[in-house]
């Protein structure tokens, strides 16, 4: 800045080109979803004449009627996804915090070995074990049962990892000691003192658990074969079938309905979500 014109000129050029690039990327990121939302209000014949428009039309209701007259049942899918996501989020966050607490607050022999195991498991994607998982669930008769999708989230290595990272600097051992002196049991200390102190980190992790559970397609599509049990992403996959082939407007509307809850959550909590993503990257 102090070095006079040439530098200021180049830095202005830099800023302008940076803005142009950012705006282009923003348009690329937003455009598909804007088209989706606008087309969900347009009739099929309007879309066939001009598939892109920036002006919403008035066929939202008509599209909705067509959409729900067939197999697509957004309410059912919403409820099923909600049940699975809420309970697996609760399981994952509560038990992961508990595991992280075991790793941070107590000095036990196998502690570091256990943590190493968790770090290794972090790398195993669920997909590669899905065949055995399916066979096992089939054997115990839990296919088409939400429990098979909820209970495994009790062991969520990623959440344990982040809770541990957060807990190490944030958990004052003195408070635990004084609670012990007051005669509180270890379980009460965890539930009534540690959990409230960890709630900001738990909230962040809860958002991610919820979203990833809500968006999961692979395991639910293997395990849930009854129409009554379909989750939102499985419902979405129905939109590609032959029955909606010519109903462009309702396909866009169906897609829009499936992302609506996620979009609402995102724009309400975007500050925390982005802070949470940033936290995830800072390892060690």
């Amino acid at each position: 800045m102090k070095n006079g014109y040439s530098k200021r000129g180049s830095s202005r050029l830099f800023v302008i080109s940076a803005y142009i690039f950012c705006i282009i990327m923003a348009i690329i990121s937003l455009m598909p979803f804007v088209i989706m939302i606008i087309n969900s209000t347009r009739s099929t014949s309007q879309i066939q004449q001009h598939a892109i428009s920036l002006i919403p039309s008035s066929h939202f209701k008509a599209n909705l009627d067509v959409l729900t007259s067939k197999t697509f049942d957004p309410l059912k899918g919403f409820m099923n996804s909600m049940i699975i996501s809420v309970f697996s989020t609760l399981c994952s966050v509560y038990f992961s915090t508990m595991t992280a607490y075991a790793l941070v607050a107590y000095n036990w022999k196998l502690r570091s070995a256990f943590f190493t195991v968790i770090m290794c498991v972090l790398m195993i994607p669920a997909q590669v074990t899905s065949i055995g998982f399916y066979q096992f669930v089939y054997k115990i008769g839990l296919t088409n049962n939400f429990a098979a999708l909820i209970l495994p989230s009790i062991a969520s290595p990623t959440v344990v990892f982040f809770m541990r990272q957060y807990m190490i600097p944030a958990l004052p051992m003195e408070i635990l000691q004084s609670a012990r002196i007051d005669g509180a049991s270890e379980f009460r200390i965890f539930n009534q003192i540690v959990l409230p102190m960890m709630s900001p980190a738990m909230a962040t992790q809860a958002i991610f658990c919820f979203v990833s559970s809500w968006n999961n397609l692979f395991l639910p599509s293997i395990l849930l074969r009854e129409k009554e049990k379909y989750t939102m992403p499985i419902m979405v996959s129905l939109l590609k079938g032959d029955i909606y082939r010519t109903e462009y407007g309702s396909i866009y509307l169906g897609l829009f309905l499936t992302v609506l809850p996620v979009l609402i959550v995102y724009f309400l909590l975007s500050k925390y979500i982005i802070a949470g993503v940033a936290l995830g990257g800072v390892k060690e």
């Binding site: 256990f114 899905s130 499936t258 390892k283």
Partner: protein
């Protein structure tokens, strides 16, 4: 007194085990057991729904041999890697450029917050939805993209992207790119913000320009974060399922068939060949483990490893000395 305090610590240690029980139990039942089960199934003749009467094959590695010589599997592996590369290279490049701009100390970019929110948004949207949305966007003869290309004069007539093998691959890679570049950028930015500002100040005093600081300071200091991004992206990329499955179901002509889609099709449609799917899963498992191990080895912090080694040696030495005294 001393023994008493030790006793107390010992009695608390058991809670470490108790509080870990739920995790360990769920892990053993829902993760370790299925993994071993999958591995075992790979050596058997298990196929068909509800088949409980399966045996280890006479030649246990038959399924593995069959999969490794299966043209579809080879093709799917190639596709998976090609699509991942086509997504990852532009993704990390653009994420790094955006990171450099957003953390630039000389030129503050306004509206960073809004850009971050917009760039990250595709990541939070159900991948299944994005895949089907893109299928609709590229539809032929009247889809939004064709409409745009024709009415802007780029193309004379609508083009059927969905039957073009190359175009289909590029679109899948692009969707993958679109959903992940914002995430990568935010992770990288937080990594840069974690670098001590003193280093940058020193560089500024020494007269380093923006590009020099970026390559000489930012990149080397981002090593761990880059490793994290690379590994998570690689593991995710090798398991790519939702987008290729729902975009064109592996087509056209298997050009977007990824290994996960291959495994799914083997196991859960048509002939229900669980044994082969299990063998393919295990091959993928091994590939993923090897890739992560290699990456860890290449990107490991050599200085830290050296320090650790020295510390260990010193400890040993002192222990030895202690024993002698």
């Amino acid at each position: 007194m001393k023994s008493k305090s030790r006793l107390k610590r010992l009695s608390y240690a058991k809670y470490g085990y108790i509080f870990s029980i739920p995790f360990i139990a769920a892990f053993l039942i829902f993760s370790l057991y299925p993994t071993i089960y999958t591995a075992v199934l790979g050596f058997t003749d298990c196929r068909g729904i509800g088949n409980n009467d399966w045996h280890i094959l006479e030649n246990p590695f038959e399924n593995f041999k069959e999969i490794l010589s299966n043209d579809s599997f080879k093709l799917s592996l190639k596709n998976t890697i090609v699509i991942w590369m086509m997504n990852f290279i532009p993704q990390i490049t653009i994420a790094l450029i955006l990171t450099a701009w957003f953390t630039s100390r000389r030129n503050e970019i306004k509206g960073k917050g809004i850009f971050k929110v917009i760039f990250y948004m595709p990541n939070i949207i159900t991948a299944a939805t994005v895949a089907i949305l893109f299928n609709a966007l590229f539809s032929y003869p009247v889809g939004p993209i064709n409409d745009l290309l024709v009415s802007s004069g780029v193309k004379d007539t609508a083009y059927n992207f969905l039957v073009d093998k190359k175009a289909a691959k590029i679109i899948v890679a692009f969707i993958q790119f679109l959903t992940w570049y914002g995430n990568t950028m935010i992770v990288l930015i937080s990594g840069v913000l974690g670098i001590s500002p003193d280093i940058y100040e020193a560089a500024e005093i020494d007269g380093a320009n923006g590009i020099q600081t970026f390559f000489k300071i930012t990149i080397p200091n981002l090593k761990t974060v880059l490793l994290y991004t690379l590994i998570t992206s690689l593991v995710g990329g090798l398991n790519m399922f939702d987008i290729p499955k729902l975009f064109l179901d592996g087509g056209p002509d298997n050009s977007t068939l990824t290994t996960s889609v291959f495994i799914y099709n083997q196991a859960f449609s048509g002939s229900y060949m669980y044994n082969r799917a299990a063998a393919a899963s295990m091959i993928m498992f091994i590939i993923i483990s090897i890739c992560s191990a290699i990456l860890f080895y290449i990107m490991r912090d050599k200085d830290a490893a050296k320090l650790k080694k020295e510390a260990k040696l010193a400890k040993k030495e002192s222990r030895k000395r202690g024993a002698f005294v």
